[in-house]
């Protein structure tokens, strides 16, 4: 087993509001790791801390938030100890980010060439003719037709799907080893989404880049990811290989999320999770999921569960979770 490229250990990101009188633990002690070329799906509902986790990694937290503890190791170096200046050399060069809305992440006043070439210009020191060739290659790799012509265009001249591919080209321009994609296809139509996901897979195969896929859509995780981490109320409640978690989820929340997914061609009633996600400023005691959990006991409402290993590379934060060795053997045989 190789050492992980990215390792997040006990990360805590807190928001301070009302002049410091109230602290919201948006990310509360999460740990996960990512090997080179691997795809991790970060799954959860809105407000569960997915995006805050990503912003903590790239060092782009809003002023009200700060990393209160833990470490983020990228190829052995702790990113939480870096100065803003050092982080600028890392963003774009080692970690790139793709955001949800391509219209908001592209600058309407600059043409495509300027925006795609910027990371290569700053981080890789490429200039003039070779920069132009580099941009052409990048646009070609994200399947933009006639790139030499298209790079003189402005964002408004392109469709939503094409803009999101341009954002992908910018992310690749600095030659990063990790791309964080925060709901990159939410604004795209289904057929365009399918094309974009296929494209990301191709790019990953060509360049070996690792991807963290932030999404609330389990279908995307099933299609794209090797491993997944399920977040609820600022904590990772279950983390493991996509196959294990889809096959035999350990945490009731993972089970419930999978049960609430509409499956094509199935008319079986969906499993509805009762209640709604908790307010992070006012979390229930014990396990944060217990008010909505079908299997909760008295114990769950009083004591916070510990992280339990369920199998190889597979953990769950639940009092009911237990190792599933026998199941893994069944998987191996099947």
């Amino acid at each position: 087993m190789t050492t992980p490229y990215l390792e997040v250990r006990d990360l805590q990101t807190h928001f301070t509001t009302f002049g410091g009188s109230r602290v919201v633990k948006a990310v509360d002690g999460i740990s996960f790791s990512l090997r080179e070329g691997e795809t991790l799906g970060l799954v959860g509902e809105s407000g569960c801390g997915k995006t805050t986790t990503c912003l903590s990694i790239v060092g782009l937290l809003p002023p009200a938030a700060r990393i209160a503890g833990g470490e983020i190791r990228l190829a052995g170096e702790d990113l939480t100890k870096k100065s803003p200046r050092e982080m600028r050399r890392i963003r774009g060069r080692k970690i790139a980010m793709i955001l949800q809305d391509p219209m908001a992440s592209l600058n309407p006043l600059f043409n495509i060439y300027t925006q795609v070439s910027e990371p290569a210009y700053y981080h890789l020191g490429i200039r003039r003719q070779s920069l132009r060739r580099r941009v052409e290659d990048l646009l070609r790799s994200v399947r933009i037709p006639s790139p030499a012509m298209r790079m003189r265009n402005y964002p408004h001249q392109m469709s939503g799907g094409m803009r999101q591919r341009i954002v992908g080209a910018i992310a690749l321009a600095g030659g990063p080893k990790l791309i964080i994609a925060d709901e990159p296809t939410t604004n795209l139509d289904v057929t365009i989404q399918a094309q974009y996901l296929d494209l990301l897979k191709d790019i990953q195969q060509e360049t070996g880049v690792a991807i963290i896929f932030v999404t609330h859509n389990l279908g995307i995780v099933a299609k794209m990811c090797d491993r997944m981490a399920v977040m609820y109320a600022g904590k990772i409640v279950e983390c493991g290989s996509v196959r294990d978690l889809f096959g035999a989820p350990s945490h009731p929340y993972t089970k419930a999320l999978l049960g609430s997914m509409a499956k094509l061609g199935s008319k079986e009633p969906l499993f509805a999770i009762p209640g709604q996600p908790p307010d992070l400023a006012n979390l229930p005691p014990g396990c944060a999921f217990h008010p909505r959990c079908a299997e909760a006991t008295q114990h769950c409402s009083e004591h916070e569960p510990k992280i339990v290993p369920c199998g190889q590379d597979w953990t769950a934060k639940c009092w009911l979770a237990h190792p599933k060795e026998s199941l893994r053997h069944d998987h191996a045989r099947a």
């Binding site: 509902e45 809105s46 469709s159 799907g161 094409m162 139509d189 289904v190 057929t191 365009i192 989404q193 399918a194 094309q195 296929d198 609330h216 859509n217 389990l218 279908g219 995307i220 995780v221 099933a222 299609k223 990811c225 996509v242 196959r243 889809f246 419930a256 999320l257 049960g259 609430s260 997914m261 509409a262 499956k263 094509l264 061609g265 199935s266 008319k267 009633p269 969906l270 499993f271 509805a272 999770i273 009762p274 709604q276 996600p277 909505r292």
Partner: protein, 320 residues
């Protein structure tokens, strides 16, 4: 007799250029002779990508836009000719639930007043009767009658959507247009709303036109599905039949593009390329031929007509 019957429905929007002399320079053919019907107690799913005319169709049924051709019949009566009492009766019977419950409920009105408003307009109920009816429909959608006093901002997204559904149900509605009712909601809440809608249909016998772009969700709730592409209805069939034997290449592409429910599910690469063309300058012939993997010379010249290939399964494609 179907509750709603749409025949050769057509809506063209004029396009004008210039600021002073606004000359008509063309037409956006948003909806182009589509046909479908909805039976009592049935859900018809309407699926397609953005700009395909789903919402225009909904607006035509809601009389927010007037069609440029074709008819919409409700209980056998052409709604284009309705006025006075007949029109009021129609508006009472057909209601709508929008995608974003944060935008569709007035922040200045109490939930009880929001739900009572259509009742005040359409019925001569007294204050007490109104309150009673509001409590009734709130209970129907799984909310406590006490919440009538609250304002929308005191609710979560899922609860707001329940309020929107309660408002749509208040006037003993027979057909509800659901325009992407779960797209704006959290995943754990979507199933709640879908189950609630199914339960309401079972108990009240109301019909739905469910507009969506996620095939798995639409197929789950609908008995039949109509697929739209650039203003045309390309295929319509029972939802199980459509998912098992999609005929139109576009429907096939939508099925392939639908995300898998399990990592081990068989996954194909999507065969169609490019993006949906502009409705201002739609391609001639079959509008899908520019992206179709099976396009023939004939497709770019002649527009296919819808043919019934099996009972209840119609497709508009030259391959059939």
């Amino acid at each position: 007799m179907p509750v709603l019957e749409v025949r050769d429905l057509q809506k063209h929007f004029p396009v004008a250029t210039g600021t002073l002399l606004r000359r008509k320079t063309g037409w956006v053919k948003a909806v182009e002779s589509i046909n479908f019907s909805i039976e009592a107690g049935e859900t018809l799913g309407l699926i397609g990508e953005s700009g395909c005319g789903k919402t225009t169709t909904a607006k035509l049924i809601l009389l927010q836009e007037r069609p440029t051709g074709g008819t919409i019949r409700f209980d056998g009566e052409d709604i284009g000719g309705l006025h006075g009492d007949g029109l009021m009766r129609y508006r009472r019977s057909v209601q709508v639930v929008f995608q974003d419950p944060f935008a569709s409920l007035s922040p200045r009105m109490r939930v009880g007043d929001i739900i009572a408003e259509p009742l005040e307009i359409h019925t001569g109920m007294t204050r007490q009767q109104l309150q009673q009816r509001v409590a009734e429909v709130l209970e129907l959608v799984g909310l406590s009658p006490d919440v009538a006093k609250l304002f929308p901002h005191e609710f979560s997204g899922g609860q707001r959507q329940r309020v929107a559904i309660a408002r749509a149900l208040a006037t003993n509605t027979r057909l509800i247009i659901l325009d992407e009712p779960v797209s704006a909601l959290d995943v754990s809440i979507r199933a709640q709303i879908i189950n609630q809608l199914e339960h309401l249909q079972d108990t009240l016998g109301v019909s739905y036109l469910f507009i969506g772009h996620d095939l798995a969700t639409v197929a789950h709730i609908s008995q039949r599905i109509a697929v739209m592409y650039l203003g045309h209805l390309v295929e319509i069939a029972e939802s199980t039949e459509l998912c098992a034997h999609p005929l139109h290449p576009y429907t096939q592409a939508l099925l392939i593009a639908a995300l898998p429910a399990h990592p081990d599910a068989k996954q194909e690469r999507i065969a169609i390329t490019g993006e949906i063309p502009s409705a201002l300058a739609p391609p001639p012939g079959c509008r899908f031929h520019t992206r179709c993997p099976h396009a023939m010379p004939r497709c770019s010249v002649e527009a296919p007509v819808s043919k019934e290939v099996a009972p209840g399964h119609a497709v508009a494609c030259h391959l059939f």
